[in-house]
Symmetry: C2
Subunit: 227 residues, 2 copies
Amino acid sequence: MSKKATGNPRRDESLSRAQIIEASIALLDANGEPGLTFRTLAERLATGAGAIYWHIDNKSDLLLASCDAIISHVTKATAPTKTPEAGIRSVALAIFDAIDAHPWVGSALTRAAGKLPMVRILERLAEQVCALGVPEGDRWSAVSALLSYILGVAGQNAANRQLAQALQLDRSTFLEDVSTVWSQLDVNAFPFTRELAKALPGHDDRADFIAGIDFILCGINANGHLR
Amino acid sequence: MSKKATGNPRRDESLSRAQIIEASIALLDANGEPGLTFRTLAERLATGAGAIYWHIDNKSDLLLASCDAIISHVTKATAPTKTPEAGIRSVALAIFDAIDAHPWVGSALTRAAGKLPMVRILERLAEQVCALGVPEGDRWSAVSALLSYILGVAGQNAANRQLAQALQLDRSTFLEDVSTVWSQLDVNAFPFTRELAKALPGHDDRADFIAGIDFILCGINANGHLR
DNA sequence: ACCTGAACACCGTTCAAGT
DNA sequence: ACCTGAACACCGTTCAAGT
């Protein structure tokens, strides 16, 4: 009996890029960024480590493609909204939730400057900003502010999640730990942080996130009134 | 003649944490994040790789400490400003410029969730937000929005710089390259991005950055008027 | 107390060799 | 055309042994 016939069933069809990305996402979801390794990936795909390089350029290509698989799904069909403001909130929240579900997407997004995943988000934002009536010359700064803010929250959220994961803590105990550290800071040097520490454990990430979006929307609209 | 007496002059005093951090920053500035290695660092400090571990916990500790050395300097004494708004802009710009000078600080900041460098920025922002007259209950969302935005731009800027550095391109040719890629995207799928591509090469990062800060400030102030 | 430097357990990536 | 898997050139980190 050949090894191929029984044990460790080999794939029948050849490896595909889509298969690799799917397995990559599974690994990233399960064990975070350090969980994605060419060796682990090869094992999971029942192939050799080098085989992957036939379909993928390198690790950063793999990470980018995995990130794009998530983001493209999220930015695809969003339900039509009554106002452009609501549209922006809905795009933003969709990304927020995606990163909540896949923390590694946050850091991948930050490193994919100008690449497809970022562009997908940019496009949806620009679409709504345009619908808001912002003239072409002012669109860039509006879109760029929204994008930076979204990516900023994305990055921070991802970092929080990954740190909590590495320390084997759930979200709330992690926040409590940060809160206690903050409240023990030097009173003279960090009076405000000590105050804010109280609010930290109870706060709602998602609500804070849209609050920020609304601040920016307010600024964008106010700029319009000046014209 | 002993090796110690002439060649490769050994340090006279023992290694210090400050020395290590100084050397670490020099390496990071010179060759970016991949330029920082325990081996290179040890060589530069004329010591063994393991010696560093007597003073530093691990690489992430080293990166955090290096980042904090930059940020603490930047957040230290800022000139008093006429308005809190100006104060916020000045803090924000100081960080923007620091990351411009040390791109690796941007990514380090993103990964240092809740740690000292982030707290230093948070404190300065909270101070000014308080001076703005925002009541304690509303401060967190205002500070958090500003912080997320600043860290978002920080991260993106750092990513751009590091990518450009890796590709051996200067800022303007890098932006032009991104711009051409964007303008070649599918018209149906990315009409807005194609439009924005035109504005990309000419735009002023720093001006865009404060434009975003002003959007948020506008939102924070408007919230006050509702009370 | 502080340092040395070999050794360990990993990485991503390459490439001759196979089918 | 696609895959194999050993080999290469790195990493961060540890630790017995030194001073």
